[in-house]
């Protein structure tokens, strides 16, 4: 399936999920079933998705806290006094968040970053944004690699970041990385201009 349709489907799905009242429990079961079906069709390994769902952890923590701190009528669950509206909010946050994360991961699992960028381009996202994203995708690995090499070089000279006294060293490393990336940007621009770039990507 073309990437731009997948992106549209994801956005549409999210809007529907967010707009669904949280009391319609059956609807959420249906949403989840739909995602499982999509995952099965796209041959996405469940383990792959589960591992990456860890990004949701902060929301889960917040959702778990809600029943304890919210006001209003309270109910007894397992000997704990919990807020009824808090429980419902927690459920809503958790369900919507989880569905969103799964849907996003499914998109990520079935689409390469390049396809995503092209999809966004076809959806008429402004050229500048698309170009910035494309360059980010392209150079992410180059820059992380550079960062890793700097870390290895630091470590090889006996540096261990153990306490805040060491932070200035890290800050200088980040600064050096920024300058290197900036200079690389200039060289890339030079290479682009040398091949006839005039500020717009050819299409």
């Amino acid at each position: 399936m073309p990437a731009h349709l997948k992106i549209l489907a994801l956005v549409g799905f999210m809007l529907v999920v967010v707009a669904t009242p949280r009391e319609w429990f059956a609807a959420y079961a249906f949403f989840l079933a739909a995602l499982v079906a999509v995952g099965a069709v796209g041959r996405v390994r469940p383990g792959w998705v589960l591992k990456r769902m860890l990004v949701e952890t902060p929301f889960v923590v917040f959702a778990v806290l809600m029943p304890f701190i919210a006001h209003g009528p309270r109910v007894e669950v397992l000997g704990l006094s919990l807020s009824e509206s808090g429980l419902l909010s927690a459920w809503g946050l958790l369900a919507k968040g989880t569905l969103g994360v799964i849907a996003g991961l499914l998109l990520a699992a079935t689409t390469t970053p390049q396809e995503l960028v092209h999809g966004l381009e076809r959806l008429r996202l402004p050229q500048q944004l698309v170009q910035i994203m494309a360059f980010m995708v392209r150079y992410l690995e180059v820059v992380t690699d550079e960062m890793r090499r700097m870390a290895v070089a630091r470590a090889s000279r006996g540096f261990v970041a153990r306490n805040p006294l060491h932070w200035p060293v890290l800050a200088r490393s980040v600064g050096a990385l920024f300058i290197r990336s900036f200079e690389r940007g200039e060289r890339v621009h030079l290479a682009m201009v040398s091949r006839g770039y005039t500020g717009r990507m050819p299409r």
Binding site: P113, Q114, V117, H118, A134, F135, V137, R138, Y139, E141, V142, R184, R187, V188, L190, A191, M192, V193, S194, R195, G196, Y197, T198, P202, R203
Partner: protein, 250 residues
């Protein structure tokens, strides 16, 4: 005498901060020639290269490519005629896939559709990288990336290929593969390099740039075997390398 592909006359240039890098360079490269540009670091080699496609414009003197002067008005055609392969392929390959990257130059020249595809395939075939067309550049080995970088420029049908340190950071096998590719290309080459055996292997003629002027030029084997000349310009052959014996095996 035919019009040289590259005709640099009395070229002088100073950077905006006042640092003068070139003091009157004369350089001619004729069609089909492969010429090595040698010289110590800071001699002005990179500055000279950036004049060839109009990134820098001459402070004094002139640069012409196949008779067309390098001026602001001609810049588009000049950049088609002069293909520069930069030293770090990660600077040159900035698109998501090899195919898009090779297409970038010709697309900027207005090529579209099947003509563009054919041009991309042809350029990749010249460097033996057709089967990698749909891979992202950062998944290729360094040697492969260097070859793709050459293809990105070949796709523009340049009249002269300018290579900045083509053999740097290459393992010996990749270095030789690149040499084979360059030798088989039917294109004029100007090669900036510190790799003197590479210059001898690929280029009949060498030019030494030092202190912002052409200090010497001649057949590569003569330049490399002139010990006094070499020492005067901080050029050194690898240990045990004999240019005359090596040239005899070419």
């Amino acid at each position: 005498m035919t019009t040289p592909v590259l005709d640099v006359r009395g070229l002088a240039f100073a950077y905006p901060d006042g640092h003068q890098a070139l003091f009157g360079v004369d350089l001619h490269v004729h069609r089909g020639e492969r010429v090595a540009l040698l010289g110590p670091n800071g001699a002005g080699k990179t500055t000279l290269v950036l004049h060839l496609n109009g990134i820098h414009l001459a402070g004094a003197g002139s640069v012409a490519v196949s008779g067309l002067p390098v001026t602001k008005a001609n810049i588009k055609e000049i950049r088609r005629r002069v293909g520069i392969v930069f030293q770090d392929p990660d600077d040159q390959l900035f698109m998501g896939t090899v195919r898009e990257d090779v297409a970038f130059g010709p697309a900027n020249l207005g090529l579209r559709g099947s003509a563009l595809d054919a041009k991309v395939t042809e350029a990749l075939a010249k460097v033996g990288m057709e089967e990698f067309a749909d891979r992202p550049p950062h998944h290729l080995s360094f040697g492969q990336r260097r070859r793709v970088a050459v293809a990105t420029v070949l796709a523009m049908d340049p009249e002269i290929l300018v290579l900045d340190e083509p053999s740097s950071n290459l393992e010996p096998a990749s270095r030789r593969e690149l040499a084979d590719i360059l030798r088989d290309l039917d294109v004029t080459v100007l090669m900036v390099t510190h790799d003197l055996p590479y210059a001898l292997e690929l280029c009949d003629r060498s030019v030494i740039l030092d202190g912002g002027i052409v200090a010497a030029e001649g057949r590569t084997v003569d330049v490399l075997s002139n010990a006094d000349l070499m020492r005067a310009h901080r050029l050194e052959l690898p240990f045990g390398f004999d240019p005359v014996a090596a040239a005899a095996t070419l």
